[in-house]
Structures are given as C-alpha cells and as structure tokens.
C-alpha cells in the first residue's frame, strides 16, 4: 500500500503510481470497488461485512497460509471511474481478483473490463440479469440473487392473490424496467387472467410522489407492484398512506424488507406488503446466529443486507482462492465453477452454467412493531429454485 506521487516533467502530469513492485510473497490481495461516496447507506454496512470476513479468514490462518488483504476503492457512482479504479487495482496493486460493485451499470462496466483484461471478477450486488446472461462472460461471477430470481420469488406469492387488476410503479432505469418486465411475464404466465391497468415510471431519485399516487389510484388496481426504493420509497409510502392508496390493496414490493430501506420508514411502514428482504431479527439458524454474534460483537450494531453481501463476497472469494491454490484467472474460474461455500443463509453454490450463486432471499410480509417496520411470516427462498431451466439459460448466455 506504499505509494508515492510522481510529478512527470513538462506539463506537470500528476499521476499516482505504486512505488515498489516488491510484493510480499505471503500476501494475497483482493481488489474491491464500490460506490462508497454515492451510496453510503448501503455500502457502510457492506464494508463492515467484508472487514469482518477478512478478519475471520486471517484468524483462521489466511488463504493456504497467506494473509488476505482487501484493497478497497471508491467508484463515485460512475462506470468510467470504476474502470479507472479497476485498472489501478489490477495494474498497480496486482490484485488476484476484483470484487464488489453495487449499481448494475457499474457492475457491467467492471465485468467488461475483467473480460478484456482476463481478470476474475466476483460481482457482489448488481442485480441486472445481463451480468450473468445477455452480457455474461467467463471471468464474471455474481453473488446476489438476480432481478429474475427475486421476481420469481415474489411472483410465486403474487399468483396466490385473488387480485386481477395490477398496476406497477418502478424507477425509470434498467433495474426498474427489467424488474417490471420479468415480473409481468412470469405472473402473466401463471395467471393469464391478470390485467395490467397502469404503469408509472418516475425518474430514479426524483419521484413526484403525489401525482404518481393519484395516477395509480385513478386506474383503480386491486394490487400494485412497487420497485422503488430508498428516498423514493419513503415519499411514495408517505403520499400513499395519506391518500389511502394502499388501503384494501395488495402490494408486492422488491427489496423493501431489507433493513436499509425498511428501517427509515419507522411508524409509516405500510403493513401487509409482500416483500423480499433480510429479517435479521427472526432468522434462527446456527450459521446466521454465528454471523450475527460476530457482527454485533465487533460493531455493536445490527447487520443490514449489505453486511451479508459484503461478508459473503469476501468469504466466497477466499474459498475460491483457497481451492484454486493459485491466482491465475483460469484456475480461479475452474475453482469457482460449481464451488459450494457456507454462508449465513446456508450453503450456496456458484453455478457452472451461468456463474450465478444460489444465494437466496427471505420473502415475507411487512408489519409494524413498536413503531418500527419489520418482516413477519418470513420464509427463506433458495436461489436454486427460482432460476430458469439450464436449457433456457444456455440460450440466454453468449458462448464463451
């Protein structure tokens, strides 16, 4: 991590470079990139998660006796900056692999970089289906359950509802668009009797919630699909509560059960929404108990979903590095394909066919308890049960 700043002569070109090429032989480096400055609400718990994982890996003797070091970079929320960071990690820090990213377009940019430079990349959080399917490549793996998987989990519940008239509200960018598209397709397949009566596409981060709520109410749907999150979700919920949009209507909502998005709602939490999320307070498995105890002991704070993702990203990366016994990208890919690793949610497998992990999500209903939003009636849905058949996946993914 030693650096110096070089001032090139002439135009005074200031560039940062790595001083010594002398890399200690007993260290293995992972290069990690995320939107720390743009999305601190998600990435702070995420960072705590991976820091805990690094500690645990090294306490258990490191990777085949070598110490694990994570070099972390901010991408300021821009694909171009993420590539600059990836380049620095690969060229100057000589990392064994890249990991991280949150936003889909940044995940895709880094995955394309990894493909070009032949570097192993473990995408942590991007949800876009493209990263493992339409724009998948052999160097890229992805941890979190994709858009498709989360949609499939929610559709299973949505199909049980009697509602026939549905409206959708989603942020107007790729994530929102593909979430709605997959949800509509899967639900209409299961329930051909369903009508889609309205769709609203507020700009991400800029929802003018009043008119949107009014417009949806005017279409008089029996059920609503929501894909907004963060500050948009807060505004939508507040306007919806005041205007009675959610009264006597079923709502199915992506990600809303994640503490990152549920906790800010406090006493405004709408009850009975069917959501995906992370009910850390009600998961009673030995794996999760161990994680929760370690996390709370270290940080004196409760974990968010980002903590799980950060923790599991580095745990998975360490397992891949340990199995490969090498930092060669091809050997890492061979090691990762089909590898099963323990996680706080139970064992997960990185599929050979599309490099998607089988990490699942919790599905449940929102409820209000002591002025706080929580998830109740939660069930863990395994990722492996919500993916299309191998034959379909083969068609979706370009040949390596």
């Amino acid at each position: 991590m030693r650096r110096r700043t070089m001032l090139a002569a002439g135009l005074g070109l200031a560039v940062a470079g790595l001083a010594g090429a002398a890399r200690a032989e007993d260290v293995i480096k992972i290069g990690e990139i995320n939107s720390y400055s743009l999305l601190p609400a998600f990435t702070e718990p995420y960072r705590k998660g991976w820091q805990l994982a690094v500690e645990e890996v090294n306490a258990a003797g490191g990777i085949n006796g070598k110490k694990l070091v994570v070099v972390s970079k901010d991408d300021s929320g821009k694909p171009a900056d993420a590539q600059t960071a990836a380049n620095e990690l690969v060229s100057s820090e000589n990392v064994a692999m890249l990991a991280g990213t949150f936003l889909s377009n940044i995940g895709l940019a880094v995955s394309d970089f990894a493909n070009q430079k032949k570097v192993f990349f473990l995408a942590a959080e991007p949800l876009t289906d493209a990263i493992t399917w339409a724009k998948g490549n052999k160097y890229t793996f992805r941890l979190r359950p994709s858009n498709y998987m989360q949609a499939a989990m929610l559709v299973e519940e949505a199909a049980k509802l009697p509602a026939k008239r549905w409206a959708t509200i989603a942020p107007n960018y790729e994530y929102g668009q593909s979430a709605v598209a997959v949800f509509k397709k899967l639900l209409s397949e299961k329930r051909p009797d369903i009508q889609w009566v309205d769709e609203q596409w507020p700009p991400q981060g800029k929802i003018d919630a009043g008119p949107v709520v009014q417009a949806v109410a005017a279409a008089n749907p029996e059920a609503i699909l929501n894909v907004t999150f963060g500050a948009d979700l807060v505004k939508l919920v507040r306007e919806g509560n005041t205007r009675g949009l959610f009264k006597d209507r079923k709502v199915v909502s992506f990600l809303t059960g994640e503490p990152e998005y549920l906790d800010p709602l406090k006493e405004e939490t709408p009850e009975g929404w069917i959501v995906t999320g992370y009910p850390w307070y009600s998961i009673k498995t030995p794996e999760h108990d161990a994680f929760l105890k370690a996390y709370q002991a270290k940080y004196n704070d409760y974990p968010r979903l980002g903590s799980i993702v950060g923790y599991q990203t580095i745990k998975s990366a360490a397992a891949i590095l340990a199995k490969a016994g090498s930092t060669d990208a091809d050997k890492l890919i061979a090691a990762a394909e089909g590898l099963s690793v323990p996680s706080p949610f139970g064992e997960i497998t990185f599929r050979k066919i599309d490099h998607q992990s089988t990490l699942g999500a919790y599905v449940g209903k929102t409820a209000l308890k002591d002025g706080k939003g929580i998830m109740v009636d939660t069930v863990y849905r395994k990722g492996s049960d919500y993916l299309p058949s191998d034959e379909e996946v083969g068609k979706l993914r370009p040949k390596d």
Binding site: G12, L13, S76, Q83, A85, S91, Q200, K206, D208, K235
Partner: protein, 628 residues
C-alpha cells in the same frame, strides 16, 4: 372530474415546494449575477438542520419553530459564505462564482454524511397537517393544502418586500442596473449580502418544509438544483412572479403528463425550457438584459500567438510528456491517456467559452455523442477502429449543428441553459432508447484494436490527438475567423456593423467545439471500452466548466492546465479516500480565493507585472491600459 381537480391541486402543491427554492435562486441571480450552484446545498442543509431540531423539540411549536429556526440558521451560514468567500470574487470573470459555489456543494455533500450519518432520515409529520381531506372520494393531504396556500403567501410577501420597502426598491434597481445603483452611493456590499441571505433563507425553508413528505439524505441537493435553475430560467431571470408561473407550469404539466406518458418526468422540465427559450429567448417574464457597460470577456492581458521561444518550449514539454511510457507503469499511462482526453474536452469548451464568449452548460452532450458515434460504428457497422475515431465525432458535429443553430440565437445564461436543455434531451434519448443505446447499461466491449491496445500506444495516440486538437484550436483562435469570433464576444453591435455575420460565426464556432468534444468522446469510448449515458450527463458538463474556470477563462492555454490539475487531482483523490468530494471542494474553494483569475490567469498576471518592470514592456502595458 373530482380526480382531475385533485390532480391539479397535487400539482400546485409540488409547484409550491419548487417555487420556494426557485424564488431564492432567482433573487440571488437577479441582483448578484451569481450562478449559485450551492443553492441545492443550502436547501439540503435546511432539511438536515430542521430534521435535527424537529426531532428534539416537541409539540407543534417545536415543529414549526424548528423549521423557521433551521431556515434562519442556514441563512446565517449563507451570510458567512457570502462575506468570506463570494465578496472576494465578485470582480472575477463571469461564471467564476459558479466554481466557488460548486466547491461548496461538493463539501456540503460529504459534510452532511459525516455529521448526520449515511442513512436516509425520515422526519415527523407536521402537527395539524397529518391526515387528508376527502374531496368527492379523493383524498387530498392537508399538508398539500398548506403548501398550496403557502406558495402564493410567500409570493405576496416577496412582492410587498420588493415593491413597498426601500430595501426592495434598491434590490430592484440593482437587478436592472448594478453600476447605476453603485454610482448613486448605495453600499452594494451589504445589499448583496442581504439579498444572498434572503435567497438562502428561502432555499433552506423549502428544504425544511420537505420534512413531512420526503426523506432527508445527502443527494437531495442534486435532485433539486438543476430543476430550480430550469424553473428560474423559464420564468425569466430575476422575475419572482415568473418563477411562480414557471413552477406551476412545470408541475402541472408533470402531474397531467404522467397520465398519458408515464416516463415523461425524466425530461419534461427540459423540454418545456427548450420550447420556451426558443419562442421567448428571455423566459416568460424576463426582459432583455441591458447591454453591459464593461465589455464582457475583455482580457486583462491581450492574447497573442506564442513566440518562437514559447513554441519551442511547448514542443519540448510535449516531448517530455511523451517519454512517460519509459518511466511509468500501465496504470499511470491509462490515467495519462484519460487526462489527455479531458484536455481535448476542456479545450473544446474553452474555445466556445473564452474565444466565443458562449458558456455552454451542456457540453458533455457532444462528448457523449462522439462516444456513441464510435459505439454505433464499431458495434453495428463493424468498422475498424481508425475509421470509427475519424467518423464517430461527426455525430457530435451533427448534434452541435442542429442544437447550435437554436442556441446561438441566445446569449449569456439563457444560452447556457438552452445548451443544458439540449444536453438533457440527448441524454434522455440515450437513457430511454434501450433497444439502440442499451439504456443505462450502456454499450460494452468497445476495446481498441491490437495496434493501440497497449497502454503506452493508447497513451501516445491520446497525447498525439490532444496536441493536434489543441494546436488546431489555437490556430483558429488566431485566424481571421477567431478574431471575428472574439469581435462578436466583445461587442456584437460593432462587429455586425462592420459586416461580420455574427450568428453564423458563432454557429460555426459551436460546431467546431462540438466536433472537437466529439473527438475526445471517441477516444474516451476506446479508453474505457464502453459507453454509458453518463458520458453525456450533467456532471460531466459541470466537470468541463470547472476545468476551464480553474485554468482561467480569460487565458488561451487555461483549459489545458485546468484539465490536467482537476482530472489528476480527482482521480487521485477518488483512489485515496472516500471523502474525495470534501477534499476536492476545499481545494476548489482555496483555488478560487488564491487564484481569482484561474491558475493560468494569475500566473500570467504575475509574469506581466514582472515584465512591466522592464521599460520596454512598461510601454506596452501602458498602451494596453489606454486601449481599455
């Protein structure tokens, strides 16, 4: 029917929030001519402080008192900023204050996270306005009704303040003619400070009043700042009634627009602004600005081509920089290539701003069009890299030709805002037209061919093109065309009276700038191997402005140094710290105070003064002063 009426009221409530913030901006701009980029930051601070106060103070009095106290507290911060920072730079070149307020905004964005933490904060609802009113089966939130009343009340109060008080008369006089007010012995300093305080108070109040309906978070400022600028410009700069009408217009069009086109919100305000500015060049209620007394853009030090010694020095410097691949690693070379590309981009904007006197707020559009041009040619037509780099920028040229034809009909901030509108329209096309552009997931796999793939080769390519472009722009600057363009910048009337076809000259300059930006974009696409709508976003346009201003808008080589310093520092800081915005913001503010003419501007002044010590040069500078 009831539905449409309620939708109308909902639109009015949105308009009221927008108007509060916009009116403050309009007042500040009208009097001080500061493009206050930090207005959104004050709005956000108002919300954060109000959140803290209303959480701690209980009861209705605690809530409303908290809102007002928060707005007052932020106004005090505004006064401090004005006295400590802005007063120093009122006499700096036009738009230089934008740089200072941009630096402040960067700082505030990180500071609120440091102080209040990263989580979204949801404040309590307003006491007395928690529920909704039933209107023929439709619910209207009572807080909306409160806002609907508040909007016109604030408008009325401001009207009284400006029409019926002595202070208001002075402010209006200053809005019309600052120099005359000063000549009449009014203390401008305190007038400006008080105006700034009122404007900031309104922004903070607007932010504080969002507590019952929004979440407080660290990106609130960016969400609102561009929109309020647009509203102010649609209404006509300095016109408060105009801001009100524009806010209502925009909000109502949005409220009803989404019923037919649910995706319209993304672009609506910019469409409205483009239409309004094309039809009414000074906004709905704006008046044509009186011709400025001080010739705008008059350079303190006259421009001249390089002497042969300087030319030699430049070639030597270029040769030295070209040696980088022999001493630096791959990462440094890729960063070097990126900086070289941004030199092209900044130089192209500088040509438009400094030589043409046309400050574009949407220059990234042409950079991005160049990048997309390359992506289309390479991905769809499968053309080789060299052909793509040659032809790709033509898309930038085409965009500049079309939009430039409309934009050059305007001048000053109206010109800037129309370019911004066009840039946002282009951006939204790239963002929305998923089938062709891939939407925000972009176009991937655009890597250079073998001959340029190695970092050193690409570095030389970028450096070579950059040197070529900068030289050509310099040649144009000192060609008869460049003189005509500067003539139009300094005095449109005189230029046209000697037979210069001014608009045509400016249009040509716009196309030249757009094309060169496109060249930068084409190289950038290959450097990154991908193209995203980000490549034409507002933040990139702002980056370009900052580079030009940082280097010195009144100098010829300013953009080059501005681009190198800003880009290198930015890349380095992002790599070193998560608080890069805070550090960069502090740096920019310091630069503004220490180098009020930009880095190169101040260096040139110092050199000029030294030369003036020699008798021969003294004669020259005396002549120059005479010319002024």
């Amino acid at each position: 029917m009831a539905f449409y009426f309620v939708q109308f009221l909902t639109g009015l409530a949105s308009a009221a929030s927008l108007f509060l913030v916009a009116s403050g901006l309009s007042i500040i701009f009208g009097v001080t001519r500061i493009v206050n980029f930090a207005h959104g930051a004050f709005y956000m601070l108002g919300a954060y402080i109000a959140f803290s106060l209303t959480e701690r103070l209980s009861g209705a009095l605690g809530f409303w008192g908290g809102i007002v106290v928060a707005a007052l507290a932020v106004a005090v911060i505004g006064v401090i900023v004005e006295i400590v920072l802005l007063r120093r730079i009122y006499h700096a070149p036009e738009l230089f204050q934008l740089l200072a307020t941009f630096g402040l905004t960067l700082m505030v964005e990180d500071l609120v996270v440091l102080i209040w933490g990263p989580d979204d904060l949801v404040g309590r609802r307003a006491p007395g306005f928690k529920g909704a009113v039933d209107f023929f089966g439709q619910n209207i939130p009572s807080y909306d009704l409160f806002l609907i009343v508040l909007g016109p009340v604030v408008l009325g109060a401001l009207w009284l303040l400006f029409q019926r008080t002595r202070w208001g008369i002075l402010v209006r006089a200053a809005t019309q003619d600052r120099d005359m007010v000063a000549a009449l012995g009014v203390n401008q300093k305190w007038l400006f400070t008080s105006v700034f305080a009122v404007g900031v108070f309104l922004a903070a109040l607007g932010g504080a009043l969002q507590i019952p309906r929004d979440a407080v978070h660290h990106a609130m400022d960016l969400r609102i700042i561009v929109e309020v600028f647009v509203v102010v410009v649609i209404g006509g700069l300095g016109s408060i009634l105009g801001a009100f009408v524009a806010a209502v217009l925009v909000s109502e069009l949005n409220a009803f627009g989404i019923l037919i086109f649910p995706t319209i919100s993304l672009i609506l305000v910019f469409l409205v602004m483009a239409v309004v500015l094309v039809i009414r060049p000074w906004g709905l209620f704006g008046k044509k600005e009186a011709p400025a007394r001080r010739t705008p853009g008059l350079t303190v030090i006259p421009w001249r081509p390089l002497t042969s010694v300087e030319r030699l020095a430049s070639v030597v410097a270029l040769a030295l920089v070209a040696m980088l691949p022999f001493i630096a690693g791959n990462y440094a070379l890729t960063v070097g290539a990126e900086i070289a590309i941004f030199v092209i981009f900044a130089a192209s904007l500088h040509f438009l701003m400094a030589v043409g006197g046309l400050a574009s707020f949407g220059h990234a559009a042409y950079f991005g069009l160049g990048a997309y041009g390359v992506a289309f040619l390479a991905k769809m037509a499968g053309l080789p890299m060299i052909v793509c780099i040659l032809l790709g920028p033509l898309l930038g040229a085409l965009g500049a030709a079309v939009f430039g034809a409309f934009a050059v009909q305007l001048s000053g901030v109206y010109f800037a805002m129309l370019t911004l509108a066009f840039a946002q329209i282009v951006w939204s096309i790239a963002f929305q037209w998923v089938a062709v552009t891939g939407g925000d997931n972009g176009i991937l796999g655009l890597w250079p061919e073998k001959w340029a793939a190695s970092p050193s080769h690409f570095y030389w390519l970028a450096l070579g093109v950059s040197a070529f472009v900068v030289s050509v722009l310099r040649l144009i600057t000192f060609s008869p065309f460049g003189y005509a363009l500067r003539g139009m910048r300094d005095s449109p009337l005189r230029s046209e009276s000697i037979g210069i076809n001014g608009k045509r000259i400016q249009w040509t300059a716009f196309i030249i700038a757009g094309t060169t930006a496109g060249i930068g974009g084409a190289l950038f696409a290959y450097l990154k191997g991908s193209v995203f709508p980000d490549n034409m976003g507002i933040s990139l346009s702002v980056d370009a402005l900052v580079m030009v201003l940082l280097g010195g808008v009144e100098t010829v080589p300013g953009a080059i140094f501005g681009a190198i310093v800003y880009k290198a520092l930015n890349i380095w800081l992002v790599s070193q710290t998560d608080w890069s915005k805070l550090v960069l913001g502090i740096f920019i503010v310091l630069i503004v105070v220490v180098f009020p003419k930009g880095i190169v501007g101040v260096v040139e002044s110092v050199m000029q003064r030294r030369r003036a010590a020699a008798p021969k040069a003294a004669a020259l500078s005396a002549k120059m002063e005479g010319a002024q």
